[in-house]
Amino acid sequence: MAEVRDREVAAARAPALHVPHEEALGFWRKYVFSTDHKVIGIQYAVTGLLFLLFGFSLMMLMRWQLAYPEQPLPWIGRLLGDSRAPGGVMLPEFYNQLGAMHGTIMVFLGVVPLAVGGFGNFVLPLQIGAPDMAFPKVNMASYWCYFLGGVTMFVSFFAPGGAAQAGWTSYPPLAAITPFWGQVLWLVGMVFLITSSLLGSINFITTTIQLRAEGMTFFRLPFFVWAQFVTAFLLLLAFPPLEAAAVLQLMDRIAGTSFFMPSGLVVSGQPLEISGGGSPLLWQHLFWFLAHPEVYVLILPAMGIVAEVIANNTRKPLWGYRTMVYSVVFLGFMSFIVWAHHMFLTGMGTTIAGFFQTTTMIISVPSVIILTALFLSLWGGSIRFTTPMLFALAFLPMFGIGGLTGLPLGLSATDIHLHDTYYVIGHFHYVVAPGTIFALFAGIYHWFPKATGRKMSEFLGKLHFWPSLVFMNMVFFPMLIQGLAGVSRRLYDGGAMYTHAQEVLYWNKIMSFGAWGLAVAQLPFVVNFFRSIRGGEPVSRNPWEATTLEWAAPSPPPHGNFERPPVVYRGPYEYSVPGSAAGYLPQHVAAEH
């Protein structure tokens, strides 16, 4: 009886939200130019997934060249045309375009839009009990800015001279002398993407601070929200210098300035007619000032997703929630002062190298704390091996390998041997591919029922998971081996011309088959995704018996999310509470007695 009275009191305190009639909005305003965070989240997620597929395809082309150097590409070779692959054999310039755009697309058009734009937009307002983001129109603008940036990047492949081909890092002076349009469109595309990120980050931070429901204190926030919150600060403060740098490189290209062009440059035997006096290292500083925090942008949302999935599927609270929160905030802060560990080989003196090595070693600590806490969260749990949980579990050792392989890169003495080798590529792919992308898959399987009202197939999910895990390791582990043997990155022939690489060359074929196998392993996911939208098992609000607020809303939630603004009574992971009727206590349910 008291329970009923509590609920009535709570309902009276929280007035019903005014939800405008959805039928009043036409198709375009409801599904295309929507200001609803859930629609925008899905737009980001779908566009992000498409770009992930595209970026993946670019890499699969590269892996042909690496496995079978100078052999014609079957079928696709003819389609590429003579400017890219005469006789079906990929030109080195085209290989470089594939490399530069694979990195750019995966990082900026794929992973971040899906992890932050997709998951952040869809889940964050729901998890804090808000009706939408603080600035819905700005949210819509940020998606379309991203879309424009994506189109610009895509179109650059068809520009005279092809797409950007100086690596995703676009270092001048090389980036200044590659074909004009590809690089210029890359720079313009980056300006769009950065603007989109800035608008988004302002929204995320304001929303998290201002729109938390009654009773949702900061230390009752799900870890996912904390992760997105810190990520938003990284985007807000680290991206602008790259935007400035992009403008400067555009000035170098279009206005003939020498921001990054040193004096005395000679290209193809001709001295360049520029003023000189610029600094290529300046670009590196401005680029890495963003690009280092960017890698934490890639991993933090993933850690957030894994935390949610683990707590839910172990039926127990996260171990060390507070410690994880302090760690993620500290990590965010440190990420701004480590960047020059990407520049150890630029002639850096020992004092400043010592500074950056120290900060880099320090930043590994909060990462390890978070990973350890996630591992310890499994201890004593009643583990449900659902598909999201399998991906979340695999994330842990995969991110572990990725993180540990980063340590010799963060110390300049060992970095001398490993910088710009395949070891680096192996390291960061372990973190992003079987790391972040696995976490993103976990998130898709976990939140698909909330977004669609239907579950994805467990059978197809497992058919997706197991081969993916095997092939991920088949592609990326040998990179560590090749890198340790001294094989450089960004080599058109995969190291074939170097004597020191001969003994490890055979791995190229194995890695390529791993990559193509990985592609095939994604087919069950694609089938599952589309089939489940209409044909999946229908679910109620809370099919996973979860505690966080998004599961209190209908599946899918209507415009405005909650029938009444929720009130929060407890922390986010009250699982297996003794005496609770359902075996867990959702955050929004008043005390039982």
Binding site: L237, S279, H285, A340, I352
Partner: protein, 99 residues
């Protein structure tokens, strides 16, 4: 409402005072530049005057002096990273192997 109006009138007086101070500091900083001081004192003095001017604009025109703790926290962290961005590349340029 009357108190509110009085409040704004007090603010307006502050704005005018700050305005005069800013114009004066502008003239001072230009005058100092004609002294052609050596590089380090010239830079230090110019930046000092600019910081004072900037603080006046921030504190009084942007109401920072009566703003909430939350805004200050955001700005302090921004300031830390801004300082890092300005100093760390400079220090890296100064500490080069062989120099």
């Amino acid at each position: 409402m009357d108190e509110h109006a009085l409040d704004i009138k007090k603010h307006v007086r502050i704005y005018i005072t700050v305005f005069v101070a800013l114009l004066a500091l502008t003239l001072i900083t230009v005058a100092v530049s004609y002294l052609h001081l050596p590089k380090v004192p010239a830079i230090a003095l110019a930046l000092l005057i600019a910081t004072v001017k900037g603080s006046l604009v921030a504190c009084y025109f942007m109401h920072l002096i009566s703003e909430r703790k939350l805004i200050f926290i955001v700005l302090i962290f921004t300031g830390i990273f801004f300082t890092g961005l300005l100093l760390l590349p400079y220090f890296t340029e100064m500490d080069v192997v062989g120099r």
